[in-house]
């Protein structure tokens, strides 16, 4: 069924067609409509789930952890300060190997209070052991929830999908909402190998000394490595059933491009248009959209920039004291592989400032007119 819906509603529909069984969530702008619509689905019986109306995001994640530990499919959604409040529990969910799915609406951290988009909230959780997907469109949001459960339940690590505040959360687009029965064929009932059950009692998460803890981390990393291939397969199977896929890193006119723009989230849509225009002018520019950020598909990225002469990374985030976070990941990915490849790191659009086609043009012109970057941080549009 095709429906014109916002990114937030795409989240709610995604959680519904995935047959989430326990939802625990707390409202925060700009995520609130996700919670509201899910409450309606549950109240109307459209979704047979327990919705725990918790008193905080911290408890939302704690409840999801509990529910997931019983083998139930658990879902939550939050943003910015809510995600930050969950931090300890994000580690707990990942180390506990629980296949929870969380939708985070990217919103800048305060103070000053901001409700507008940037990626510092989700990227601050980079090292918690969650898979991270950055979405470009409302369709991709919905599909990534279904795929997220599919991947997570195979590898027993949680998935966070990320959508931009307002540019996606409150913007309506036509979205194909797949039939729940068809989703069932793609995403069968979760059958947890280890679960809290009085029939087979286990103790989970007890005191773990240096003799065992190290291996917990080793296994997580091993699983993260496998997750890249599993996510790829999940996307391919998705395409066979639903007729669309999203890739882990999407290549857009990048194969023969001299300059490749590396982007994520809704900036990808704007960049796509700019690339079309530049191509029509005969300028050799392409785009890579990083959809999967954790685990980072390093090999796929290296292949994608094999023939590029320059790479320009656009970060809607900043690791203060270092620079753009995608830039950091990409320079480290390329270290020792293409030392001749100049990588430019642009910071743009923080706190929801618009990244317009003009901004992208400015970035392209800067990269085209410099042989190598002058500085590790190139600020675009900052008022000095």
């Amino acid at each position: 069924m095709k429906k014109v819906i916002t990114g937030n509603y795409a989240v709610s529909y995604g959680a519904m067609v995935s047959r989430s069984q326990v939802i625990a969530a707390y409202p925060i702008t700009p995520q609130t409509q996700i919670v509201e619509l899910l409450s309606e689905f549950c109240a109307d019986g459209l979704l047979d789930a327990k919705f725990i109306k918790v008193e905080s995001e911290h408890s939302a994640m704690a409840s999801c952890i509990g529910a997931s530990a019983t083998g139930a499919r658990a879902f939550t959604a939050t943003s910015a300060h809510g995600l930050a409040l969950m931090h300890e529990l994000l580690h707990w969910a990942a180390l506990g190997r629980l296949p929870i799915v969380l939708a985070n609406v990217n919103r800048a951290m305060g103070p000053g209070w901001s409700i507008w988009t940037d990626q510092n909230d989700s990227l601050s959780q980079r090292d918690t052991g969650w898979l991270q997907f950055y979405c470009e469109s409302n369709q991709e949001i919905l599909d990534t929830i279904i795929q997220g459960f599919k991947i997570s339940e195979q590898i027993l690590l949680p998935t966070m999908l990320v959508l931009d505040a307002f540019f996606l959360s409150h913007t309506s687009e036509p979205v194909d909402i797949p039939d729940i029965e068809v989703v069932d064929t793609y995403l069968p009932k979760y059958n947890a190998t280890y679960r809290l059950s009085t029939e087979n009692p286990y103790a989970f998460g007890g005191l773990t000394g240096p003799d065992h803890y190290f291996e917990i981390r080793y296994k997580m990393q091993e699983t993260m490595d496998q997750a890249i291939e599993i996510a790829r397969q999940a996307d391919e199977e998705f395409e066979r059933i639903f007729g669309r896929s999203h890739g882990l890193i999407e290549r857009y006119y990048s194969d023969d491009a001299e300059l490749i723009l590396v982007v994520s989230g809704s900036i990808a849509s704007t960049t796509r248009d700019v690339v079309d225009q530049l191509r029509s002018e005969g300028r050799n520019v392409g785009m890579l959209k990083v959809r999967m950020f954790r685990p980072f598909p390093r090999q796929e990225f290296r292949n994608a920039v094999r023939r590029a002469k320059k790479v320009a990374v656009i970060d809607r985030n900043i690791c203060v004291g270092f620079g753009g976070i995608f830039y950091q990941e990409i320079t480290s990915t390329m270290y020792g592989h293409r030392d001749d490849l100049p990588i430019f790191g642009f910071i743009a659009g923080l706190g929801g400032r618009d990244v317009t086609p003009n901004v992208i043009h400015e970035i392209v012109t800067h990269a085209e007119t410099h042989d190598t970057p002058d500085t590790e941080i190139i600020w675009i549009g900052v008022k000095r």
């Binding site: 911290h58 408890s59 409840s63 529910a67 530990a69 139930a72 809290l196 009085t198 103790a203």
Partner: protein
């Protein structure tokens, strides 16, 4: 009629509690009363250690270790997860210390209680953060020494009245208990088990190293806490109906305080002050009991 304590043990002898640990005995009795269809949720506390390190467990029921401040919320999630999968009769037992209940975990507990989620929440109260080495909590009584309330600056605020806090949530059942009266404790757990919604049990649990007492008098002290009216045994139903389940003998508080190293700095007049506070609280409890019957 005497209450029979079930013989079946669900707690093994391999636990690593200190000798005389009230918290260990409390778990043993509570599990006897609840039986096998119980899942234990354990935030950080002494019990995270007592339960035994990976890959062992001293409990024969499933056990989920959770973050310090999350017992209420994690238990709610477990209950919801079980129910949506068709298991409606397993008791989800949140088992937290006083720190995990009165302090850092009070938000999650309040959330669960206000929603009246179907969990049994037990606070075993040893009146300080024992796991981290005897620091004060809001359950530490007036006058007590802890490592963060040294004798020259002992705790000069009364113990938080957690039962009143829980009663204010209008939950169906809240009760106090102690390991010195196992019949009373087991009866209360069995009663709680038959009730749906949030049930709260506050168990005074002597801690020999934390209270600076010899382990062999731990039970005697728990008994004295009741007989001195310092820790009365009572129930609150639906936040309104108060019932005292044991009439204290009215032993002077000094008989309780004098055995404990944590109170040994107190002067006679400070002990008299404690006696006055205890009498006042007891009168309060009596009047609530009278009003509700």
């Amino acid at each position: 009629m005497r209450f029979q304590i079930p013989e079946h043990e669900l707690m093994g002898p391999g636990h690593v509690a200190c000798p005389g640990c009230g918290a260990a005995q409390a778990m043993r009795y509570v599990l006897k009363a609840l039986g096998e269809k119980t899942i234990v949720v354990l935030p950080a506390c002494c019990w995270s250690i007592i339960a035994g390190p990976f890959p062992y467990s001293s409990l024969q029921v499933p056990l989920y270790h959770t973050a310090f401040e999350t017992a209420g919320a994690a238990a709610s999630g477990i209950k919801a997860g079980l129910e949506i999968q068709g298991d409606t009769d397993t008791t989800v037992l949140a088992w937290a210390g006083d720190g995990g209940t009165f302090d850092i975990g009070i938000q999650a507990l309040s959330g669960a209680a206000e929603r009246n989620d179907d969990i049994l929440y037990v606070c075993y109260d040893n009146e300080a953060y024992m796991n981290t080495g005897i620091q004060r909590s809001s359950a530490t009584p007036w006058g007590a020494w802890t490592t963060t309330t040294p004798v020259r600056h002992f705790k000069n605020r009364p113990k938080k009245d957690i039962m009143m806090v829980m009663a204010a949530h209008k939950i169906p059942y809240a009760a106090t208990a102690t390991v010195a009266f196992p019949d009373d404790l087991v009866a209360k757990v069995q009663k709680a088990k038959t009730i749906h919604g949030t049930r709260f049990l506050h168990i005074l649990s002597p801690c020999p190293p934390g209270w600076k007492i010899p382990s062999e008098i731990a039970i005697r002290l728990a008994r004295l806490a009741i007989e001195t009216k310092i820790f009365p045994l009572y129930e609150i139903e639906n936040g309104e109906k108060y019932t005292i389940t044991r009439q204290p003998d009215g032993v002077p508080v000094i008989e309780y305080l004098k055995f404990q190293g944590r109170f040994k700095h107190l002067t006679k007049s400070q002990m008299d002050d404690i006696q006055d506070m205890v009498e006042k609280e007891w009168e309060n409890l009596l009047s609530k009991t009278e009003r509700s019957h």
